[in-house]
């Protein structure tokens, strides 16, 4: 590195870190969010330019190959992924980040210790802190990679249809494997006496981390994925930070810490929205206990789209409660059309969004934005709850547990205390649902028995289209 670049490079890294911080600030508002994302991309470019300057004249063949392959794959995936599959996409991206961090740490060990044929223990050759951080990068990155792949498969319903996979004695196995992996990492950093010994240890640690990631995520079901994805997002940041310690680069440490913090906050928000603790979600198995299995329903009333349309026709305020079922039925566009029709007839229309309405934080907002629903109409739970009692009609489409009043009234319910959308306070509630089947929590929904509730059975998209047809005729 010549004297010029030795001054320029650190400044570029600093600018890059500043860009990331300002970008996160801009990402907090709808108006500025797009600029924020662009600024983050510029920050990344600055960091890459800085690194290339630092490298100077070297052989670029591997770098170009890696950039081409990764860039093309990333771009194709980003442009083609449907919005419904955004949680899967983010899971895979998390996994890639984790894998990259673990690979950098491994590559560092090979390039600094193994390949130059250095003599001594990993601590003597790399330095104690670097050796620990190599082990930490490998552990966090490996768990993030394989855990994200399992999360992807769970979201796709490829493993037992998205249901949790519960191995016998899984807590014992997981705890033992976690301790063993930590032990391998610690022994690599402090116990290994030779570079060859360290190489074997770090490779075994890599394998153990990958297995650990799988075992940690398989007992967690599809609907708990918002928490898991947020947490894996956090891990991918922490892995980048650990890698920053390995190569001694502050911009990695800063960016990784920012991402780590954001992931942790989002997982907390998701847990709070389900009234469950992070350990409760992570230990897994939710919704598989021999819960009441749904229970018997009494006095449930149902109606046809035609009858519901008559009520909607005279409603002056309507709130739509979309759930994941709406996305599965691809009914977003039909719902938006229905709402526009109602607005044209003079009704006030809003959407009530529960924090865990989709499969990742804010997923439902993205799906509705894609269907051209103006974001001003999307109202958060706390703001919309006092509004329900002044509302003529609530349309619940593909949501279940998040509108179950048992969360407020029944202390023995598994969802007791979970914040819900209090739709039961509205004058009339229509629930569009295929059947009376239980939601993710596996319990009966008392809302369906309420006197002001009417069920409309059928596929969400078809029912909404029928409603549109009826409303157009009158």
């Amino acid at each position: 590195m010549n004297s010029l670049s030795s001054m320029v490079v650190p400044i570029l890294y600093l600018l890059s870190a500043v860009c990331f911080i300002l970008a996160l600030k801009l990402l907090a508002r709808v108006r500025t969010a797009r600029r924020g994302n662009l600024l983050a991309a510029i920050g990344m470019l600055l960091a890459i330019v800085g690194t290339l300057l630092e490298l100077g004249l070297i052989d670029y063949r591997w770098i170009i190959l890696g950039c081409l392959v990764g860039g093309v794959l990333g771009a194709v995936a980003a442009l083609r992924v449907p919005m419904t599959a955004m949680p899967e996409m983010v899971a895979l991206l998390n996994g890639c980040g984790g894998a990259a961090s673990a690979l950098v740490a491994l590559a560092y060990y090979f390039s600094q210790a193994v390949e130059p044929g250095r003599v001594g223990s990993p601590t003597e050759v790399l330095g104690g802190a670097q050796a620990i951080m190599v082990a930490a990068s490998v552990l966090i990155g490996g768990v993030t990679f394989s855990g994200s792949l399992v999360a992807y498969a769970q979201l796709q319903g490829k493993i037992l249809g998205g249901r949790p996979v519960l191995l016998p004695l899984r807590h014992v196995w997981n705890a033992a494997l976690l301790l063993a992996t930590l032990g391998l990492g610690g022994y690599f950093a402090f116990g290994a006496e030779t570079i060859e010994g360290g190489q074997t240890l770090v490779l075994v640690e890599t394998g153990a981390s990958l297995v650990l990631g799988v075992l940690l995520v398989i007992p967690i079901g599809g609907a708990d994925m918002p928490v898991v994805i947020s947490l894996l997002n956090s891990y991918s940041g922490l892995a980048a930070s650990a890698t920053g310690f390995v190569i001694g680069n502050n911009v990695l440490i800063i960016s990784g810490a920012l991402v780590g913090a954001s992931g942790i906050i989002l997982s907390q928000i998701m847990c709070a929205a389900m009234n469950r603790s992070l350990p409760n979600v992570l230990l897994g198995g939710f919704g598989t206990a021999e819960a009441s299995g749904g229970g018997e329903y009494k006095n449930v009333r149902s109606c046809t789209a035609e009858e519901a349309a008559l009520v909607l026709e005279s409603a002056s305020s309507v709130i739509v409660v979309p759930g994941y079922g709406l996305a599965v039925a691809q009914a977003q566009h039909a719902v938006r059309e229905l709402c526009e029709l109602l607005e044209r007839r003079g009704a006030q229309v809003r959407y009530a969004i529960h924090p865990v309405a989709g499969r990742m934080p804010g997923h439902m907002n993205v799906l509705l934005a894609e269907a051209d629903v103006p974001y001003e109409q999307l109202v958060e739970m706390d703001k919309i709850n006092p509004e329900f009692k002044h509302t003529d009609v609530v349309l619940v489409i593909g949501a279940n547990d998040v509108v179950n009043p048992a969360a407020l009234t029944d202390r023995s319910s598994p969802i007791w205390g979970m914040p819900i959308l209090e739709v039961h306070n509205a004058r009339s509630v229509f629930v569009i649902k295929r059947s009376l089947g239980a939601g993710y929590a596996g319990i009966k929904n008392e809302l369906f028995e309420r006197p002001n509730t009417m069920m409309i059975y059928g596929d969400a998209k078809r029912v909404v289209q029928d409603l549109i047809k009826e409303l157009k005729q009158t």
Partner: protein
């Protein structure tokens, strides 16, 4: 008192965590998905480390691992920023 690079790194890490908490707490739920995919792209910063390890021509273990790391990090960076932009474009459009 002089601080070694590791200690400075720890200071930077802890302070950056606080900055992160402050910034993210203000993000409304509407933007949580784009925030997450954007943050995700930022965690692709590990590409800096990847670039540093794939610098010579003859294929060695570290080179190959480095090139693989570059590919993974690039997926993260390019995919993350593009998909975030795609989402935010939808939020921005007016009827």
């Amino acid at each position: 008192m002089t601080m070694g690079p590791v200690l400075i790194g720890i200071y930077v890490f802890v302070l950056a965590c606080f900055v992160g908490f402050e910034l993210i707490n203000k993000v409304p739920p509407t933007l949580h998905t784009p925030l997450m995919s954007g943050a995700n792209a930022i965690s692709g910063i590990t590409i800096v480390g990847a670039l540093l390890s794939a610098t010579t021509a003859p294929p060695t273990v570290s080179n190959l691992l480095g090139a693989l790391a570059i590919a993974f990090a690039m997926i993260n960076v390019v995919g993350g920023f593009l998909v975030t932009d795609r989402m935010l474009r939808m939020f921005g459009k007016k009827k």
